[in-house]
Amino acid sequence: MNPMEVLRTAVYALRGNWMRSALTSLGVIIGIAAVIVMVSVGQGTQAEIDKLVSGLGSNRLDISPGSGRGFGGIRIGGANTFTLKQDDADAIRAEIPEVQYVASTLRGSSQYVYAENNWSGSWQGVQPDWFEINGWQLASGDGFDARAYTGAAKSVILGETVRRELFGDEDPLGQTIRIGRVPFTVVGTLKPKGQGGFGQDQDDIVVVPLETARRRMLGAMGLPPGAVMQIALGVANAKDLDYVQGEVEALLRQRHKLQPGAEDDFNVRNIAEIIATRTATTNLMSKLLGAVATICLVIGGIGIMNIMLVSVTERIREIGLRMAVGAGPRDVRRQFLAEAMLISMIGGVIGIAIGIVGALLVGKFSDLPVAVNANVVGLAATFSIATGLFFGYYPARKASLLDPIEALRQQ
């Protein structure tokens, strides 16, 4: 019997009991939907982590003022507490050799004007290591030289978004833009990074030297002398991260003269920790859904096997007749396998549809990242076919081994 004929016969048989067939495929539907949601959440999280790592680098620690221990809703230093000083950064560089890069930053936002174009956005006042720690590279220009840092030069480097908004097709190098009321010379542009791990536009950025920011852009804010808003550290070796974090905390507590038991007046944020938390949450979620999927597919498969066994018994005369008119064991086996696989494949198709909708809903109503792609669908389809094949084989084999004489004699 050719495959098309086998399929036609299977469709015919299932249609005769379509309610039963539909209920039988329910287990597969739920199982496959769970597979889709599971894989989508897993892939979404992986994509997010990849973005986070590529955007921030994984071997870094960020120190910000204020108290707080961690990520996600816990107090993270406000802009009005200035407990971190440039001296702290210098001390870390001097006393913790595992720290490869140190860069203090000041932040703010302003309006940037060039000719008739203007753009509002945030800026960063940085030290030289900032580029390395954050993985920024210059697309054009020479950037800041040593004198620009020490002399608070009115030089600026533009992110791709700002460059596009202000200059369009024009070459920005050497041009003068105004930040607030102060004219700055453009000395470089940054290579674009695209969207960040949290969905923000990383290229919407303007970079100036730290001292320039302190003297010319934050002058009116009454910043305490030597204060910085953040210190970013690059650690040479990822395995030293935890150790360095401990060292930094001890050093800063000592420098800030905090009594034992007193709360930190700074906050060290570890990107690896964030990633680990994210991964752990997702892994748990994936395992849970994986367990649900496995159980559903097994139960669904057993349901299929059960119904197919019933079907073989019910249709024993039909099997006998088909054998008498020339169906071989192979034909009978194929027919019942095709029916089992059809049930599980229909369940798979419905499950894929429900799973995609479910994954999108999870993405909408929870903070879990979700990525639905074609691989997921392929995987789910494979699972559904495999379920039908595995659990349909035994009943199909049983049918094929029937003795036609006995089968015809059954009532």
């Binding site: 054998m323 008119v325 071989g328």
Partner: protein, 238 residues
Amino acid sequence: MSAASTAPVAARAVIETQALDKVYAQGTEAEVVALRGVDLRILQGEFVAIMGPSGSGKSTLMNLLGCLDTPSAGVYRCDGVDVATLDAEQRARLRLDKIGFVFQGFNLLPRMSALENVSMPMGYANVHRGERLERAHAALAAVGLGNREGHKPSEMSGGQQQRVAIARALINRPPILLADEPTGALDSKTGEEILALFKSLQRDGHTVVLITHDPDVAHHCDRIFVMRDGQLSEEARA
């Protein structure tokens, strides 16, 4: 079949058995000897009856002749093929090519129309669907049911159902037609019509082996064999 009509004298045996034995549960206390040394030779184009009381071994012989079973000893050549050498898959293929079954209980598939029932065996012979429906159409017309193609078995009389079953048995153009009590479930008038149909099939060159316990039915045949306690003998015609 054209060979039979042009040269009937040289007709060859489509069924040939030599010393056929069939023993069930051999070597145990429940051993039953169903057939003993059955010799049978049926030529192409013959219309033959096999008679005998219940339990005489008729059905066993029928199953063997229909290649549903293999003999315990002896040789059966079905249209020249020694059945004992075949496995289940090959015997299925042989049934497909050589045997058409007609049963007492018709054995139509209840959810299929007459046309689908008749075309069903051709699916296993990998006949193209278009040709299948065409041939099924012609076969139903040949048994006088050209206007009943779309009817389900439950919508037809017993005689009509048996005609559908006969059309199905003929659909792969097998050289042998095996009918097991084909009129047993029909009233005598309808039974006569079915027997008339078999006779017309014989005139078209088909070989028909009819199994029955009814002497009136057997009398329509060219030759009559009788089974008694597993042994077969030919009855002289009166």
